[in-house]
Amino acid sequence: MSFAADSLDRRTFITFCATMAATLALPESYVPAIAKALQSAKRPVLVWLAFSDCAGCTESFLRASNPTVSDLILNTLSINYHETLMAASGEDAEALLSRTVGDDRGRYIAVVEGAIPTKDNGVYCTIGGRSAIDIAREVCSNAAAVITVGACAFFGGWPASRPNPTGAVGLQDALRGLKVINLPGCPPNAVNITATLVHFLTFGEMPDTDAQSRPLFAYGTQIHDSCERRAHYDAGEFVDAWGDEAHRKGWCLYKMGCKGPGTYHNCASVRWNDGTSWPIGAGHGCIGCSEAGFWDENTPFYRRLPDVPGFGVQTTANEVGLGIVAVTATAVAVHGVISIVRDRLHPEPVDPPPPSAGKS
């Protein structure tokens, strides 16, 4: 079916196609190709699995507007299964999923949101009596393409944070060998989810990825390198405290623990909520939510370095290091004083034996 005629005027539709082309870093000449693909697509089937998650990725996906992603994608795709969106519930819903896996084997797109608990036979996340890993294995292994959305489906996210009581892992760790496209972020950007689907519909294949299976169009550039505050970093202009003069001027948040250096995401260019703003633009450092293990590894978020194990959370690595140097300096000073005092009190013999005649 052609959705564009249903709910959108031509101008809005072409604008959307141009936005998708820009997000995918495609030249303008691809806009007609995208428009044609979206209009002629035979409503590819999509199932959206949600496991150990907060539905925040779904919320992020649905929050886009003007034109709404739901308008465009829900009308282009046949979403056969999505717990949050579907009308059916209970056994009817599960029947829809198993019918899709059976009837559209090898043709549907599987989207996975949320982590997969593996401890105790995956008992910590079950749907209709089946464990998450069981469902994921069946649905994903029969799909034409598998997309993970969010940090949880990428590496385990919040459920996998220490101490990870449920043994939660991301999809690619739960089902090793499965080819997936990862769209991490907490939440992922609706623009990137949409653009990945548009790429698949237009070209029949998933976009190129990095070593962690993240599409390069969205995760190929370091936030630090595309940040609007980068010039302040280069010039040595930094915020020292929340609300200080430098903060009000919009200087670099590096000293406030910003993880923009080392985080690969296109937030700085596509921004959030229809390009309204983004975390650093709003004066808060990046927490690196599109990088693996961000909750455990990037905390404390407001510090440049992690805490030194064994020392209190108020002690920085530089304070610990300065202490190590101070203790060393004190020790050698004491040793030196003892050496001098001993020589004064008990002078060495005038003519010590030559070393070769020493007792050693």
């Binding site: 430098a246 080392g262 990088e291 590894e297 992690p306 030194v308 690595a317 060393t328």
Partner: protein, 218 residues
């Protein structure tokens, strides 16, 4: 060479040229790295508008390459160079006489014996730890450089490391080991002065000239 006054009557060539050159290259590179690294870790506010962070990072990376080359040359020399600079000297505890010398030296440093041992087994052990520290700093340093952007072979080279340790913890190790090396510098200079004084061996000057007032027993 006996007597509490006067210069040694005989000189021994103990530090071959590669040892001296790499020693001072390490000193220059390490202090450049420590100073620029402290700035990179906790930059101070400035009044002048120059791309100072850019310059400081450039100097830091350049000094990192100097340290890499210097340590690589010293490692090479440890296998092809003179006996005193051999890699075996760094592991005296593997030999019986090495362990005995270490005990004598520790007795000297603990004020349990007066005459300086005129061997440097304990010092060599500490130097083996320092070289391990240099290697850790070089590995973590270039690993962090690979996180910062596309640097050819660096990213795939360090991918296995980051599969085990997150970048932030690599950064923490990079900083803490720097502080240990700074603490070592304090201890190193003190021991050099102490031995120069107690042995009357012109040890301090020997690190430039290569000649010392007695033969080191390795």
């Amino acid at each position: 060479m006996s007597g509490t006054t006067g210069a040694p009557s005989e000189f021994f060539y103990v530090w071959h040229l590669p040892v001296r050159v790499t020693h001072w290259a390490n000193v220059a590179a390490f202090f450049t790295l420590a100073l620029t690294g402290l700035y990179i870790g906790a930059p101070a506010a400035v009044a002048v508008h120059v791309p100072q962070m850019t310059y400081v990072r450039m100097v830091h990376v350049a000094a990192g390459y100097v340290l890499l080359c210097s340590v690589a040359i010293r490692f090479y020399w440890a296998f092809v160079g003179d006996r005193g600079a051999s890699w075996r000297a760094f592991f005296p505890y593997l030999r019986t006489d090495g362990r005995r010398k270490m005990i004598e030296e520790l007795q000297f440093y603990a004020f349990l014996r007066r005459d300086p041992p005129r061997s440097s087994s304990v010092i060599n052990v500490s130097h083996s730890i320092v070289f391990l520290g240099f290697v850790v700093e070089i590995v973590t340093g270039f690993a962090l450089l690979s996180v910062a952007g596309s640097h050819g072979i660096l990213a795939p080279l360090f991918a296995p490391l980051f599969a085990l340790v997150a970048p932030q913890n690599v950064r923490l190790v990079h900083v803490v080991v720097m502080w240990f090396l700074l603490a070592f510098t304090v201890e190193h200079i003190y021991v050099a002065v102490l031995l120069d004084w107690k042995e009357r061996s012109l040890l301090l000057a020997s690190m430039i000239t290569g000649y010392m007032g007695h033969e080191r027993r390795h």
